[in-house]
Structures are given as C-alpha cells and as structure tokens.
C-alpha cells in the first residue's frame, strides 16, 4: 500500500530576491526595476513513492534539495508543478527542535507541540509520561527550555514526534547530535514504528545509518533523482561519485 506518491514535482527558488525590504525600499526597487534575480531549480521533476511501513532513505550532498523535498511533502512549501498524494498524519522533524518555545517549560512545550500534531488534551495527558521518559528528561519537567542543551532539546523534539502517532514520519538529520545510548534507543524506536505501519523518510549523511535501516534509498543531486534502488546499490554508486 502506497502512503506517499510524488509525481513530477518541481520547485524553483528565486535567489537574489530581496526579501527583507521596507516599504520605501520596495517602492524604489519596484520602480527602478533593478533587482537581479536568478531562479534555482531546487527540485526538478521528482517522482517516487513510499509504501506503508517502509523506511526510505534519502541521501545527497548539501543543497541537493533533500530538506526542500521533505518540506514540500509536509505541506510547508508549495510545489510549483506536479502532484503529491499522502495518506495519513504527517509529522515532520525537519528543524531539529522545530522552534521549541525557549521561554516555556518542558511541560508547556509538550502540550503546545502535541496540540500542533493534533492530539487532544486527554491524549496528551496519557502520553505525557511516555514522552518525558523516552527523552530522559524526568527531572526537568518545570525547567524552561532555554536552559537545555542542544542534545536535550533534540531528544525532546524527537520524543514528541514519535509519540504523536505519526503515519508518515519525516526525519531530517535527526541523529547528528545525541549520545550513543539515545541513538540506539531512537533507531530501535523507528524500526518499531515502521513495523507498526508508519512510513518513514530518513534523510541523512550517515551512510551507516541508512544502510542499517533502509531497504531502499533515493540519491538526490542538484534537485534530480540520480538513483532509486536497493540501498546497497545506491550507496555504492554514491560513494563512487564522491571519490573525486
């Protein structure tokens, strides 16, 4: 059963477009018309699919369009062309700590973000202990987030995401930080979610991680799919191309 279907999706970004302008500056540049713009094809005619319970790896260099692809699937960016079909609740983990509110406590943040992911108050109450336990932050329930280390924030974000019953989970470089123990725990958790039917898109630079979790992998380069095949084949070719 296919959970994500992406057909011929393209996305351009305007580079050099002056976005931080005041009213006056905008008027002047509007009438003088001297704003050099360049279109960058971030995604160019991408098509792929992902099945239920599949962990699909996505590899590629910086700037190859991986995060943009996830954002478009999550509905955060609007695609220029093409078609995207998704079935089920999507939970993206694209920025490591999706803007956790620094001045709120851990407890408030859990309530806020679980609400964003569509949980009701009662559901949050039920999950609350699980989330805290998994993130190993039991002693910090009433601590404000700004006093947390990056690793703690990331653990929290990850723990919230996996406990909100995602049917599609979008993970972007989530294992970069965090100690060995937590890495092990969270990769077990991802396997467990996938077994229960969650589709996971796993973006990472970590070849070993992709190798471990994914049957199938997509290699993106300059907005195009270079290869969509079994992980071992894709990784071999990817590493080959990088040798120079």
């Amino acid at each position: 059963m296919k959970k994500i279907i992406v057909k011929n999706v393209s996305k351009n970004f305007k580079i050099g477009f002056e976005k931080n302008q005041g009213v006056l500056a905008r008027f002047i540049s509007f009438f003088s018309g001297k704003t050099p713009q360049r279109n960058i094809k971030t995604l160019d005619n991408i098509s792929f699919y992902a099945n239920k319970g599949e962990i699909l790896g996505i590899i590629g260099k910086n700037g190859s369009g991986k995060s943009t692809l996830l954002r478009i699937i999550a509905g955060i960016y609007k695609k220029d062309k093409g078609e995207i079909l998704t079935y089920g609740k999507i939970i993206p983990l694209i920025n490591l700590n999706y803007g956790l509110k620094e001045r709120l406590t851990l407890k408030d943040n859990i309530y806020l973000y679980c609400s964003f992911f569509g949980l009701s108050k009662n559901q949050i109450k039920q999950k609350f202990d699980l989330i805290v336990e998994f993130a190993e932050l039991k002693n910090f329930i009433n601590t404000k987030i700004y006093q947390f280390s990056e690793g703690m924030k990331q653990r929290l974000a990850f723990s919230i995401a996996i406990h909100c019953q995602p049917e599609i989970l979008l993970l972007d470089e989530v294992f970069e930080v965090g100690d060995k123990n937590f890495k092990q725990k969270s990769s077990n958790k991802i396997e467990e979610l996938a077994k229960n039917g969650t589709t996971v898109l796993l973006v990472s630079h970590d070849i070993n991680l992709i190798n471990k979790h994914c049957q199938r992998t997509i290699w993106l380069e300059k907005g195009k799919i270079m290869k969509d095949d079994k992980t071992s084949i894709v990784i071999a070719e990817y590493l080959n191309s990088n040798e120079f």
Binding site: I76, Y98, G99, L104, L112
Partner: protein, 250 residues
C-alpha cells in the same frame, strides 16, 4: 477539524499569555494598568473642557479607550506574529490563521477584565447597565473586523519588513483621529474622515446602546456590519493567497 483548530488556538493563546507574563505576579494587572492610566490622565486633562458637553463623560471615555485598546493590541501583535513564529512555520504545517486566532483569544481575555471594570463603573455612576447585554454582539462583529484586518497586516508584514513601525505610527494617528476623548457632531471634515474608520462605528454603537441606552442610528449599524464583513472577506482572501509564501520568505 474546526474543533481541533479551536483547541490549538486556545492552547497557543494560553502559552502566549504565559510567555508575556513570564515571572510577573501582577500579570493581568499590567494589561489593565495601561487603559486605566490613559483613562485617568485624559479625564484629568480634558474632563473639564471637552467633557463638559458630553453626558457621562467618564463612561464615554472609558468605553472608547477599552474598545480601541483591543483593536490596537491585536493589530500591533499581528504585524509581528509571523516573524516571531518563523521556526514554527518553517517546521510544521498547520493552518496559519490560527496564529491570528490565538492573538484575538489572548487579547479577548484581558478585554473581558476591562469590560468588567467598565461595568463596575456603570454601577458606581448608577447608570442603567442593562445595555451591556448588547456588548457581546457588538464585540462579535468588532472581532470579525479586527480578525480580517489583522490577517491583512500580518501577511503584508512579511513583504514590508518595517510595517510594524509604520503601523505603530499609523495607529497613534488613528487613535487621535477617532472620537475617543472628544466628540464629533455629524458634520465637519473629521466626521467625514471617520466614516472611513470602522472603529468609529463600533465605538459609537456601543456608547449609544450601553451608556445612553438608546438605539443607534440604523446606517451606523449597517456600516459596522458592512465593514466587518468587508474586512473579513478581504483579509481571508489576501491571507490565503500569501500564506503559502510565508515559509519561504521568513
């Protein structure tokens, strides 16, 4: 879907409220302090001169201040809300309108306290207070207008980065131009200008019904409904056109 949206807006409003009142025990009193202080200063300065021809001047003044304050707080915050929540917008897909809803809910909370204060003043002056039952209806349409207006402001603020400064300036002009601490008879250029000012309609209707317990003029009521629906429609339209660009531009 609607219930989920409302639920989220309530949670967000609560959190925003907590953020705003971080470490402050006075909390809600800070919100009340501003209109009360404005009220007393204006009453002392203008009470004798401008207020002489206005019956129940202190009530007239306080209701005007409270209602305008609601408009001002929501609109000023809406010029910053998208920027303030940029990481949220870049990471999660949720109906962006909820950010505006949460501002309105939060401000409504302190507004209710102000209205309670106003009702207390009605008692003190032994004015008839049954007119207050109309207020929720007026407030509903006032909220429609403010909501639509804030949708426009918040989405334009992404394109014009200094809009919040401009709006701060503009709103102090509107504050002076709206008959809050003075009155305008049905003539003169200021009156004609105020026909374009939706706040004028809502404040006048509220004063007529609550303080003077008389029915407002029918064209005023129609004007208020017209403006609230107009801004609601325009706001929804502009916001829905621009909201897909938010994540890319901030």
């Amino acid at each position: 879907m609607l219930k989920k949206g409302l639920n989220l807006a309530v949670v967000l409003a609560k959190m925003e409220f907590k953020l705003r009142n971080e470490g402050s025990y006075l909390g809600i009193f800070w919100y009340l302090l501003n209109p009360i202080l404005t009220f007393f200063v204006l009453l002392i300065v203008f009470g004798n001169k401008l207020g002489q021809n206005i019956p129940n001047y202190s009530l007239y003044l306080l209701l005007g201040i409270i209602m305008f304050n609601f408009f001002r707080q929501v609109t000023i915050e809406s010029t910053k809300i998208i920027q303030d929540n940029r990481w949220l917008i870049k990471s999660i897909n949720f109906p962006r309108e909820i950010l505006i809803n949460s501002i309105i809910l939060k401000t409504l909370f302190s507004h209710i306290f102000e209205i309670i204060l106003f009702t207390a003043l009605l008692f003190i002056f032994k004015a008839p207070f049954w007119g207050i039952i109309f207020y929720p209806l007026i407030l509903l349409f006032f909220c429609f207008f403010i909501y639509g207006f804030s949708l426009i402001l918040s989405s334009l603020a992404i394109y014009f980065i200094d809009l919040n400064n401009i709006w701060l300036f503009a709103i102090s002009l509107i504050w002076l131009g709206t008959p809050i601490f003075y009155t305008i008879e049905n003539q003169g250029w200021l009156f004609k200008l105020n026909l374009l000012n939706p706040c004028y309609y809502f404040i006048t209707i509220a004063r007529d019904l609550i303080i003077y317990t008389k029915s407002p003029e029918i064209w005023m009521v129609l004007g208020a409904i017209f403006y609230s629906l107009l801004f609601l429609i325009i706001g929804k339209y502009i916001f829905s056109k621009l909201k897909y660009k938010f994540a890319e531009l901030i």
